[in-house]
Symmetry: C2
Subunit: 102 residues, 2 copies
């Protein structure tokens, strides 16, 4: 199993706009081979920054990589990213191999 | 839903010792109310640091907090933490509310 996380630093005053963008976005993920689940995570409020993580679970790294190069990915990202002024910096990606499950 | 993550900076030469400690540890988590799943995640190798995350999913933040104050938690941590020399710094905790699921 593989977990892809993208961390976003969001203007706290725009947090609801950021969440709304994710709610309304049609991700087409359920038609993607190897996709297991998607969650948007909200962290503790730090000074002047609300951190979020887009957190998706995949069968393995290969299925995630295949998705990023697919037509479904193009469609999901065709309408642009976060609304102007919501992000306080570029998103930070990290990918994780599951080495143990309990 | 709530996700608790603890990030560990591990000496790459001790990565197998670190993973073995988690494999052998009896976490008693399956007897804990609200516990859903545990995964140990291995990140990309950075220069001289192998990052891991202990990643557990809970019904909500309250069940996680209750666990940290429980006898099961005491038992799981009674044998001490990571083997000497494996960690390159203190673990860094972060807690996450699930605000959207797809």
């Amino acid at each position: 199993m593989y977990i892809a996380m993208n961390q976003f630093r969001v203007n706290p005053e725009r947090a609801s706009d950021f969440e709304k963008m994710w709610e309304e976005r049609d991700s087409y993920l359920n038609e993607v081979p190897g996709f297991k689940s998607f969650h948007l995570l909200k962290g503790a409020l730090e000074e002047d920054v609300q951190v979020y993580i887009s957190h998706s679970i995949w069968q393995n790294e290969e299925t995630f990589t295949d998705w990023t190069q697919s037509e479904a990915f193009q469609k999901a990202h065709a309408r642009g990213g976060s609304p102007s002024g919501t992000l306080l910096g570029p998103p930070k990606f990290s990918g994780w191999q599951v080495v143990l499950e309990k």
